[in-house]
Amino acid sequence: MTELSPTALRGFAEQCRHFGPVELLPQSDSLMAVVNCPAAVLKPLAEFLVHSLHYRFGSLVVEEHPTQWKLIYLFYRHEGPSLVQLCIYLKADHPQVDSISIKIHAADWHERQAEDLFGLVFTGHPRLGDFVLHEEWPEGVNPMRTGFSATRPMQEKVVDPAWRPARILETPGAFLMPIGPVYADYYESAQFFLETVGEDVLRLIPRFFFKYRGVEKLAQGRPWQRVLLMAERFSGTSAIAHATALCGSLEHIYQVQPPPRALSLRLILAEMERMRHHFAVLSDICHASGMSVPSAQMDILEEQALRLSGQCAGHRYLYGWVTPGGLNRDMSATTLDTIARETRRMAEASASIHRSLQFTSSFLDRFEGVGAISMAVARELALVGPIARASGVSTDLRIMLPYGGYAQNGGPPAMVEPLEREGDGYARIRVLFAEIQQSAKLIDAAVAALPTGPVRVETAGVLRQGAFGWAEAPNGAAFHYLRLDAQGCVQRYQIATPSFANWHGFHIAAENFAFQDFPIMMASFGLSIAESDR
């Protein structure tokens, strides 16, 4: 991230004005440009941002106000202004806007989601309809609307027996093989329709949101304390990341800065979480390719990481630490030493496993060249996290939009994004192993230079209404948007999760491969369905 001068910001606004009467709002700063634009300008302007200025699509937030709709399109990139919010307003009785996903494919699922949950119409979108809410949900009922009760059980409709999933393949002899929602050993619930004429998967249609718990709806009208519990628990394996992102938006709203010690401790906790997550993904990868010894070796590291969290932080998945303004508790010096020592040991053990895997041809054969995602596709779909890095796309929010402990003292010295180019399963494995090493280094550096002082500052009155917070979760970039009312209750909460972004690209990797590669592809993506479904 580079600091942006006011002139450069004005220059950016000037560029945007070529497309129409665009207004740069005063809350813009060196990091974020907030732009009001007429609905007609949205499509060309968004296209300009993505295709000419190399922004990536981050999130689409919909707010329902009594007289109008407000839509916020979030874009981000390395150079300043690193974040751009395009705000458009629609009349309450005419919720219709041009779809941008024809030109910006990454917005596709976000628009489908908004159509399903709010009843907005995106003109020109090729495929709207059942997405979050499946066929048993009555048409025309939009749960995120203000009038819809979050707590009253919804009466479902009886599904028409003639209902069939949409098909793409029309070749003679083509058939559809459904997988899920209850399948394999203990995968999370989701459904995959594999279309084929025989050996190879030609088209893959994923269906998610079997696990949709409506976190964003349940948050409405609740105090943020309650919402924080949900943010930690909707995807328990990334609890610290999502709690940090939510607290980031609360800290923008309350305009407080957590003390340096709290930021460093958050960094340590986040990197512990990342290590555990990557151990688990690598174990699944080894398991999927039938490598039982390496899989068991990674399992041992995973359980050791869980026990380390349990011993040092009191909870195996690190719940209950992050709070707006800092942390709920402090850590003693001995605990921190244990964490640094143990994470270093685990990183060494994982490096040794990686070295051995590099010489195991039966393992490499299953991953080299399998499930490749090109750099162009990764960019177009705005993939994030280790999957994007394996395709050579740099998307690390710890570097792009440094937050908390990653922004202190010009960023930690150990931060070099591990980038690969092939984009195949093996490249993803290399990125995961490299990130484990990097996390251990970050923890080491943070423990060695831990500031002293308090770990929490008090939050006072609401100074801003809505704000974004973000964090680099183990799976990639997470953006949380929160809007509070004057009493501190949540009016609007929206989560854009890395798994949601990356599942969008999953079919690209799995298509044109044999059936037996499907579990390998699932494992090498290592994504969470709970995180995507919310």
Partner: protein, 251 residues
């Protein structure tokens, strides 16, 4: 390949001794708040008010805990007046009927096949169930196995608050299982919905959809608690550990 053999053979046995002995390693459980005596009634009310999920209730001079609502946020352990915290993991409870209890014949005790159905849980619960089949817990040594098909399953392990798209899938899976069959609800969201209930999209409890025999509370329940649930189901363990008998036992 020989390298892997050496690596495996030199890793030593990691598996816990539970249930033969208590597991005393650090970090195997987050622990739970237990009944706490307070100096006066007001303090009990204050202490109960720290709980964001109403798991703690005041009862004159003490507070009582409903562990199936506790989310381990540890809010009740901060401040001057705190809950007592007990580090244990034998949390499972038998909630089924006597017919289910009577059906636990000997053949099931050391060969039990389990189908896991995720009805909207977070990935942490799934991760903890996965640990059971991994070296540290290795439930296969006790005769518990995960099976991919409900036709071969004796036990249905359900996680999550039963979202409406998963309700039909859950009912069909349950119907596909042969008799006798049992159901374990794993995690607080499967027992009470916890932070995700009441809700427009989730039932909030597995028991509303299919009969449940064993509850394993926790958010998420540690692997040892799930193992306790399986042992309780097969009649090889007793119910929830009483208060004031924390982890440890004779070495």
């Amino acid at each position: 390949m020989f390298g892997w053999f050496v690596k495996g053979a030199t890793s030593r046995v990691k598996t816990t001794r539970y249930p033969a002995r208590d597991e005393t390693a650090l970090g195997v459980t987050p622990g739970r708040p237990v009944e706490t005596t307070c100096d006066n009634e007001l303090l009990a009310v204050d202490l109960a008010a720290t709980c964001p999920t109403d798991a703690i209730k005041p009862a004159s001079f003490k507070t009582t805990v409903d562990i199936s609502r506790c989310v381990h946020c540890m809010a009740c352990t901060r401040g001057e007046n705190t809950m007592r915290w007990q580090m244990d993991y034998r949390w499972a409870r038998w909630v089924g009927n006597d017919a289910g209890r009577a059906a636990r014949h000997r053949p099931f005790q050391k060969s039990l096949h389990i189908r896991v159905v995720d009805t909207g849980s977070c990935d942490a619960v799934i991760s903890e169930i996965k640990q059971l089949a991994k070296p540290y817990y290795n439930m296969h040594r006790l005769g518990f196995f995960i099976t991919p098909t409900p036709r071969h399953a004796d036990v249905l392990m359900v996680t999550g608050p039963v979202t409406s798209p998963m309700r039909l899938a859950l009912l069909k899976t349950y119907a596909a299982m042969p008799e006798p069959k049992w159901v374990i609800a794993v995690g607080n969201c499967a027992i009470s919905g916890c932070v995700f209930a009441p809700s427009f999209i989730a039932n909030g409890s597995v028991a509303d959809v299919i009969p449940v025999d064993v509850h394993v509370p926790g958010c998420p329940p540690p692997p040892l608690a799930i193992l306790h649930g399986l042992l309780l189901l097969t009649g090889r363990e007793t119910e929830m550990q009483p208060i004031d008998q924390p982890l440890g036992g004779p070495p």
